[in-house]
Amino acid sequence: MLSAILVMAGIGLVLGAVLGWASIKYRVEDDPLVEKIDAILPQTQCGQCGFPGCKPYAEAIARGEADINKCPPGGEDGVKRLAELLGVDPKPLGEGLEPKPKSVAVIDDNTCIGCTLCIQACPVDAIVGAAKQLHVIVADQCTGCELCLPPCPVDCIHMEVVKEGVATWKWRYPVHAIRRVA
């Protein structure tokens, strides 16, 4: 029993010494700032910032090559924390970075009072109905702009996410970054 304890303790001691020596000998100087930025980023590795992952984005921020407002999954809260860490002013998320799945408005049949307010608000005439009649939204026409939500006095309109399917799938628009020229 005693020899077993001694053997295991000895192995542990020797390995600990070797690892301790190695950690000094092979020390890698990580930029502490990168680590701190990386800790704030949500680690979704989604690439919406234009970098191949959270770590590269963190490195770009640390080098001052990237803005802090390019991370939609992190949200405003993430931008704020980054701003605090880096001592700069927080700014709203970059344009077009707010991700919203494509959705259409749907009217709840039981609550709609037929006030026509949403019909007047709809920019694409996707809502049909008349005064004191139930209104219906033509899903094919609806652009999901949400302009009909605020006028509804009974809050009977909600947005429903459109699932991608055979009928609704479309080619993605080619995305080009637009830059101001001189």
């Binding site: 077993a4 053997v7 192995i11 542990g12 070797v18 190695a22 950690s23 092979y26």
Partner: protein, 191 residues
């Protein structure tokens, strides 16, 4: 000398650790998606495995002996974990790119059953120090060889037209099975 050569050939081809002993399947399926990663993983595993076989043989002969045999698995795991930790630091310093590519699979060498299996097989077959070293190196080289071959095949499978139910891991499993069958052709080369 001939003896060592025989051990090498036997472990690389005939008793290949992945193909005939079915050990170490986790990195075999996990890191074989790209050729470069497979090579890096193979190199790291070879280093760890060779060192681990040697050290564990020394521990078994000089520290444990006959009466402390029950500590074998425990002490081998501790030693392997230590060597993997060392390798991790070493690779992080010398090749940050490889370190990032290997990612989680590098610390996972610790729990790779091939890495624990080979030292235990060494004990079972009563190899001496040099034999253990060659057995470990051969096993690791066999692992590397199979990993690289498999990665090359999977890179081609990416481009191939695979029926939908077989896409991804399923076709990889089928391929691995066929490869294992092919490796059975080496059986009987060395007794």
């Amino acid at each position: 000398m001939e003896n060592y050569l025989l051990i090498l050939i036997a472990t690389v081809f005939v008793n290949n650790i992945v193909m005939s002993k079915i050990l170490g399947l986790c990195p075999f399926m996990g890191v074989s998606r790209k050729l470069e990663t497979a090579i890096g993983m193979g190199a790291a595993t070879t280093f760890v495995l060779t060192l681990a076989s040697g050290v564990s043989n020394l521990i078994d002969t000089y520290l444990l002996g006959a009466d402390l045999g029950y500590l074998r698995t425990l002490s081998f795991i501790v030693v392997i974990a230590g060597i993997v930790g060392f390798t991790e630091m070493f690779i992080k310093k010398t090749s940050p790119v490889l370190f990032r590519v290997l990612g989680i699979y590098l610390p996972l060498i610790t729990t790779n059953c091939a890495v624990l299996g080979i030292p235990l097989l060494n004990v079972m077959e009563q190899h001496n120090f040099m034999e253990s070293l060659f057995f470990g190196m051969g096993g690791a080289l066999g692992f590397t060889l199979v990993l690289i071959l498999f990665a090359a095949m999977r890179e081609r499978l990416e481009a191939a037209e695979v029926p939908k139910p077989f896409k991804g891991v399923s076709i990889a499993m089928v391929t691995a099975g066929l490869m294992s069958l092919a490796f059975m052709g080496f059986a009987g080369l060395i007794k």
